[in-house]
């Protein structure tokens, strides 16, 4: 039996002291681990070495974590005192020492101890929607406006930006909502997943967000303050929380943002997204347009339950509902692609919809209003899927074919509501998203 010490390994951020918490082990002592399997994680923070040194990086990203993966397969042993427990597994109480041994791997071989192997690193970061959303222990805990993942082996990894809803974000984030499956598959890019807090990421909303100036945002924010907080209905705490989350979505376009990443060459800024992932399930056939200011929003009906009475009154009075035909959805997609691609070389990948159900038995269509796509979910799905193929032909988008994957896996079992997939199906979709992204990168 050969014992291999597992050390923390280097994190390249030479101008900063890296502080870390004790390690939270995800595998028990004695567990057999696969190569690249994430076995633990810790929180880190970067402190400038000199008092007049650079500003603290990862501004606004309260969650910065390193997922630690096994560099080889073997039986995992925990080093004494590597996990301090309690708050000490949460707070940055230790310096990151690359040579610090925190565990061991036992493998078949000559008796004795081999040279230490560094643990593999999966980097995780997240921006809290508010500093008041106190986060506890765990992987990427708290209420985030975005979360990110990358591995520190690749030089300036290209960015895949997910603006999708659960059917796109879920496969990327995986079973523990922390990208662990992607780390095990060797993540080829820097992934940013933007949470759809309140605002549904449909093409018109994303376009408005992308072209909105600071002055336009100020106008919107002032109007909302007057209408919701100065209106006839007294605002409740729910109104402040809901409107705060909405304003955060209206204020910035994630497409324009750049992010700090630790790479082998040191701390760098990410490049603009090489690929942008969208969900066709986020495209409604009705959208809300502000009667005076003209901007568009789309909210999930179930999110409205979190809004207070003042917000609901404002939404009822200040917005007009506009129907969207499939042609409108197509036009909105093309306008959005065109605006983004005028500024950056980003490609679009769109998750299509499951368009059949074994549980449905329609013998006549008279009980459903025309056009059928406005009332029958699977006709709407078929029409949007067809339109995506037209977009692939004319605008060069890539389609993640959830419709086909659901049919292969068994939709009733693996995609019961058409959006939320099983783990097996998420794995297949994850592979498809990554292969589409890599295809774009090769073409570049």
């Amino acid at each position: 039996m050969t014992e291999i010490p597992l050390c923390l390994g280097s994190l390249a951020a030479p101008e900063f002291a890296i502080k870390r918490s004790g390690i939270v082990w995800l595998q028990p002592d004695g567990a057999y681990c696969r190569r690249r399997q994430v076995i633990g994680f810790c929180n880190i923070s970067l402190q400038p070495q000199a008092p007049d040194g650079k500003a603290k990086p990862f501004a606004g990203e309260a969650a910065l974590q390193v997922a630690l993966a096994a560099p080889a397969a073997g039986r995992f042993r925990i080093a004494p005192e590597s996990s301090l427990g309690g708050y000490l597994n949460f707070l940055g109480v230790q310096l990151w020492e690359p040579s610090a041994v925190v565990g061991f791997l036992e493998r078949d071989g000559e008796p004795g101890q081999a040279a230490p192997l560094p643990l593999l690193h999966g980097m995780l970061a997240g921006r809290l929607l508010t500093g008041l959303a106190d986060y506890g222990t765990g992987l990427l805990p708290g209420w985030h406006s975005h979360v990110r993942a990358w591995q520190d082996q690749a030089e300036t990894p290209p960015t895949l930006l997910s603006l999708g809803i659960c059917d796109a974000a879920g496969p990327l984030m995986g079973e523990r909502s922390a990208f662990l499956e992607l780390f095990e598959d060797q993540l080829p890019c820097h992934i940013v997943v933007v949470a759809n807090n309140v605002l549904v990421p449909s093409a018109p909303c994303l376009l408005d967000q992308f072209v909105r100036t600071a002055d336009m945002y100020d106008l919107i924010a002032r109007d909302i303050a007057e209408a919701v907080f100065g209106g006839p209905v007294p605002p409740a705490p729910e109104d402040y929380l809901f409107i705060g989350a909405l304003l955060d979505s209206l204020r910035r376009s994630p497409i324009r943002e750049t992010y700090d990443i630790i790479t082998p060459a040191g701390l760098q800024k990410s490049r603009p997204p090489a690929a942008i992932l969208l969900s066709s399930s986020a495209e409604p056939l009705q959208i809300m347009r502000h009667k005076q200011l003209g901007y568009r929003i789309q909210l999930f009906h179930f999110h409205l339950a979190a809004a207070g009475a003042a917000t609901r009154a404002w939404l009822r009075n200040a917005f007009a509902r506009e129907s969207r035909s499939m042609a409108d959805v197509r036009r909105d997609y093309l306008e959005f692609f065109s605006a983004v691609q005028a500024e950056m070389d980003a490609k679009f990948i769109i998750v299509n919809r499951m368009s059949t159900s074994g549980r449905e038995n329609i013998a006549i269509y008279t009980p459903f209003e025309a056009p059928m796509c406005q009332s029958l979910a699977h006709i709407a799905a078929k029409e949007i899927n067809l339109m995506l193929h037209e977009l692939a032909a004319c605008a060069g988008i890539e389609i993640v074919d959830v419709d086909a994957i659901a049919a292969e896996c068994g939709g009733a079992q693996h995609l019961p509501d058409g959006v939320h997939q099983s783990g097996e199906m998420q794995g297949r979709i994850r592979l498809e998203i990554l292969s589409k992204t890599l295809l774009f990168l090769k073409k570049k």
């Binding site: 759809n196 999110h303 339950a305 549980r359 029958l376 019961p416 509501d417 959006v419 939320h420």
Partner: protein
């Protein structure tokens, strides 16, 4: 002859459905293809998440009958298999007798409709 309208098992994982909209009134003569109710299925019973897995379904008659009694109201939760209405082939038949069989129905997945319970009630 009396017929029961039972909530079908709309999905492998469903344990309850919510009545969203009632389209038919007790006493009405319903033709083949008449809408009776729209219902929703929320699979997040165990865990309240910010994007609940909710789907909507319409239940439609497959045979012409009289709706004699409605047993549910919008917003109410019922289990698959539960009887939500009594129908009859004779307008005068009292709805308290023995049920001959479940009524034949069609079901379809539909999009969220503005008049539904969800979206209008917190």
């Amino acid at each position: 002859m009396l017929f029961s309208l039972n909530i079908p098992k709309l999905n492998e994982h469903v344990t309850s459905v919510r009545i969203e909209t009632i389209h038919a009134a007790a006493g009405a003569r319903l033709a083949v293809g008449a809408r009776i109710v729209d219902v929703s299925v929320d699979l997040s019973d165990l865990y309240a998440q910010d994007c609940p897995p909710i789907s909507f379904h319409r239940i439609v008659l497959r045979e012409a009958l009289w709706l004699r009694r409605l047993l549910v109201a919008p917003g109410q939760f019922v289990e698959p298999g539960a009887c939500i209405a009594i129908l009859a082939d004779d307008a005068a038949e009292a709805p308290d007798g023995d049920i001959a069989r479940p009524v034949r129905i069609m079901t379809a997945g539909i999009t969220h409709q503005p008049e539904m319970w969800i979206g209008n009630h917190a």
